[in-house]
Symmetry: D3
Subunit: 266 residues, 6 copies
């Protein structure tokens, strides 16, 4: 059950309304990484969650995002209001001007209606927490860009508050994930195929514009990594040179698939 | 520049086509966490990326996902083909049957057309890598559920291959992110407000159905965490009991906002 | 600012989960006339509203709808949960089964993601109240149909509660509109063209399948109504018989347009 | 069966084309409250309607809206045509310029493709008429805003004609609804729960920015109204003070639910 | 200006309603290749068209498609009506059942709302006619598939009528295009680069599953065609073998780009 | 299986970045007729195709379009990059600026996310080839318009390359269709109704603004064409003058339907 208090979570002071900026601000109101997306993603994950502790976490933050939605909406409303009568202002967002009379609605900066396609909800708690960590990182960078484009000190204050809270949430979700003890290899129940999981397919090759060689880093060398070089290219050469094995498999194919023979029984 | 080799990355053998399962499989073809989403998300992040090493990583995996798209599409095509003429089969997905003649198209299991709204691309490399880690975790769990609903051994083999590769990618993206040295607090350039960032707002309270107290865990206690309890509720009580401070701020508001006074200069 | 209480607004008891019914129930969760649509439409209208009294009304009801969303979501979750492992259940909604693991998300009964295109928000208070009255009427009839298809007594109880509340809201919005004293002719500032506004264009004619004549009712006869019969047809006949007036206007056109000559100055 | 006459319902004269205004005008061509939405909503309601008289009304007005669509489209085409070759004009709507060559298409002012998600069609006649009354009110206010932003007298003439017709339709739909004798309480077949329907939940409280008390008006006091004050807040206090009743129900919950015991048998 | 006659263009007789088939039939009502798409595509192309003769053609056929929309909608309505009260019927399309009360709306067979994204309108007449020829071909095949899945003779009669008309339209559009004398090479004003236009890039190679060689046909050999074999593969080999020319261009690149040197001045 | 070569299919040189033009260019990246649409349409048609030769054609061109997508994306990225920090540039596309940090994503020039609703895939090869011919014609004209609005010579070079290739593809698809020997009348298996197929319904009549008569051309006269004049109008007159035949059919209806009596058996 929800209750609404007629007071913003952060008091909003706007000096001179800036409709162009108000239009940009809609990214955090009705945009893909905005506050409604955050509120809905966490609250609905919470609704699906069977772990009472992390469910509480999801509802705490989901509810805070609703309060953020109200702060952002109030800010945007203040910046967009001149659109009702000012022609130049209206050109910044004719949808808000003509259909909304200068009021906000759940659109992003290009007038796209908010859609639940923005949400990432799987019903698998550790997976959902990973989605939330990424979502908060995106929200942080979007607030930062808005601050970069903002010239009104009062608005910047509010954005700084909101941006900070996203980092708070990111820390909380990270701690909640870590406390579950579910690294990549233990997601779900079915283990990945043992050797295959360590093969890195080098599917993009060439020297690039500046003659640089294919990159190597901790993401494809060291530890258990084993590089499979240009599998399609190897395959093509196999066909040309007739080096396909008797079983019809080529070098690269054999390399890629052999480890699947030990596939875990379902 | 791309080249296509007329050979699947994983050879596909389907015993008895199962149109209902073929319909489910479309989640990984034209669905929100499917292979096109993966291919596009990584390849376009790569296109925007200024770090040549991690750009190569993004293109390697983005290209592999195109090959996965082809494998999944071929599997789905085999399972869906009977829809062209079999009435019962057609009921499983009338869009594929009537509009597609039993052929696949970029829809999910409920016939929704694929949309780029599924993608998470910010142009900030460490943020994008976090989105990719989460995306791979989601893809893993979706493949696992498909395996759970699948009865055809050949199809299970292919799904196990594809599922394994998602974990491979997740490991690679994780290593790439870690090698950047960009934890939550260092995303972007603007630091969060110091004290505020450690406050956990307990916005969802009550004893729940089973009388359990508010949860505590590493996500809101220990370390630097400081809990702000039920701020809206405190505010309401302040109003009722007249305990608003002379400056018009109530207890909870003061608590939440004071730390913003030291807000970093932009 | 929002607060969430860990208690449903209406206690939910589900006997035997019915996944097919759970799928239908999603219409009121993520559907066009569902609870999120209601919560967002009223709350955002409230955010745009300059009339403090009716703004409070909009926020009261907008917040109640959030609590309804939680009740419906909890009900749906209970009915859909078997989809995670039961193949037959999964066929009722493969998107929920495969992508959601049996958890709810913001989709309707056909798997369409919720979109803000469902909302009607104009920033003109009396117009918005009319949209809300219509929205509540639609929600009422959708709950009634769900009750008709529901076999679980506990679920019916909850639906009856929710359905009743929609009528409560409809009454409140109607009273709020009536108290504004803004009938059709006084919407906005620009008055309609005097005579033209009373002309009823009979644009669909013929005797129909059962030979019935064109209908007459209080919507086109009596009071100030004046019928313009089949204007396009009259025009065609004018052309054929050469009865166009010297000014090039035909009978019907003259009839339709003459009253615009007295058009109100802007 | 439809026939098209090569003559506009209202003759259109445009002085100087204004591409920025043409872009705004698209709201009434391919926008959420535009003429296609009106034409489709009424015509399809008509197609579903079993009441021959009101079916005729729906087809009359649905057909008139098709003629309006043609008028608006012709106006927009005239204003947008310079986009084909004029760079500055093209910036007002690059989609129309590049993809459309200066021709119109079913987009709104922000380039969103028209979608049937805009429509409100329930197959319950009195409910549909309420949706239509609201739709006409929205269309009226949108035309008024377009007139406010328009500088071309010929265009204003046509918009005044179209705006007037929306009020005509609103009057007709209102008369048709009233003649059905179906007030809020008699929508559908299942009556709302008697006492519960008169309870107004005061879910948004506090003194607001200007210290104003919670609002009271005919929408929550007088007649049968009974206010339930801040139910979630009461519940929270109950939990704290231990005033839960023996049956586990708190004050507010008892208040809200008791009247459902007399719920009408289905 | 439009007029509606209360008589269907083709009289509809339905024996036993078949809700599953009614659901399929929605593909031609609110689906991607359905009658609304046809009506809107041609009518709006007509609105943009400056050639009075072909504009008339577009309006003739656009208007006929509106009449088809009415026929299909009436058929679908008859087949879907049992959904209002029959649970099994309702499962075939819960959106129609719950939200529509058994009435049609602008959805396809999977409940997707019709969108103008289905339309192909460029404002270039000969290009638009090509889009229309393709659209009619698609509509023909969709009607054929519906006939294949239909068991009701009266419905088949109506579908045969509608299917035939699509071929009529296809013939008319083809004749209209041919009479313009605008083959591929003369689309628009800017000619393609002379030699480059005749190069066929063989970007998909390999022997396939059945060892078949790369295909040759009139689409890549004979006449002016010149094949460029596996350009990316050649490029890779160039890099490996160091056969890049002094100017840094490899064999395949030189082959592809040289003909652009004579590029027509804009 | 795909391979990616780190080299663009056409080397891109951009002089001065032009963010407004970069925004327009997105039409060919994430727009309705852009390169992703082409790549996906052809590749997925190829995946469904049972004719090995034309399947190879579809994969060749589908793969080339992926390389085009990369070229267009690289061009757009260069033009849009200043949006990250330049306020004026950001106004050209706030979505790219704020959500994308100046990087590209799969949006069109108005910020609409790419959707598979743009694709035309039927699984009937000759029908698909017709859709492809039309798609290439549209892509050609869009590139031409982009060239018209472009001021950077290096960008124009790349666009000329890409535009030329679309004509190449159009020629290849046309040749592939012609080699199938499937004219309009032989699409699918069910023949159209013999006489009915030659009737042209003149559904849009009148003298127009300039008094021109109804148009005649090879699309409605000559050969087998037979004109049915204004059927709805004739019907209306029949009703008025009572000239309905004894069987209840009017003149025009008899004319339209009689030829269906010989309808081909299914």
């Amino acid at each position: 059950m929800y209750h609404h208090l007629k007071k913003l979570m952060y008091t909003v002071n706007v000096g001179t309304p800036d409709p162009r900026f108000g239009n940009m601000l809609l990214e955090q109101f009705g945009g893909a990484n905005g506050e409604l997306a955050a509120a809905m993603q966490y609250s609905i994950q919470g609704l699906n969650c069977d772990d009472p502790d992390r469910k509480d976490l999801l509802m705490d933050i989901g509810t805070e995002e609703l309060s953020h939605l109200e702060v952002v909406g109030t800010l945007a409303r203040m910046h967009l209001k001149p659109m009702k009568s000012d022609r130049d202002a209206a050109h910044a967002d004719p949808l808000i001007a003509i259909a909304g009379g200068g009021g906000v609605s759940l659109f992003n900066s290009m007038g796209n209606a908010w859609t639940a396609d923005y949400l990432k909800i799987t019903g698998e708690l550790d997976v959902d927490l990973r989605s939330n960590i990424a979502a908060e990182a995106r929200a942080k960078i979007v607030y930062e860009r808005l601050i970069d484009f903002c010239e009104d000190p009062g608005t910047i204050d509010a954005l700084q508050f909101l941006m900070t809270r996203e980092i708070t949430h990111m820390k909380a979700f990270t701690a909640a994930l870590e406390s579950m003890g579910k690294p990549a290899l233990s997601i779900g129940r079915i283990p990945p195929t043992p050797e295959l999981v360590n093969q890195y397919f080098n599917d993009s090759t060439g020297t690039g514009d500046r003659g640089e060689p294919d990159s190597r880093g901790p993401w494809n060398q060291g530890g258990e990594w084993k590089i499979v070089d240009a599998p399609a290219f190897q395959e093509l050469e196999s066909e040309k040179t007739g080096t396909r094995a008797a079983n019809g498999h080529s070098r690269s194919e054999a390399q890629m698939n052999k480890s699947t023979s030990a596939k875990a029984e379902k």
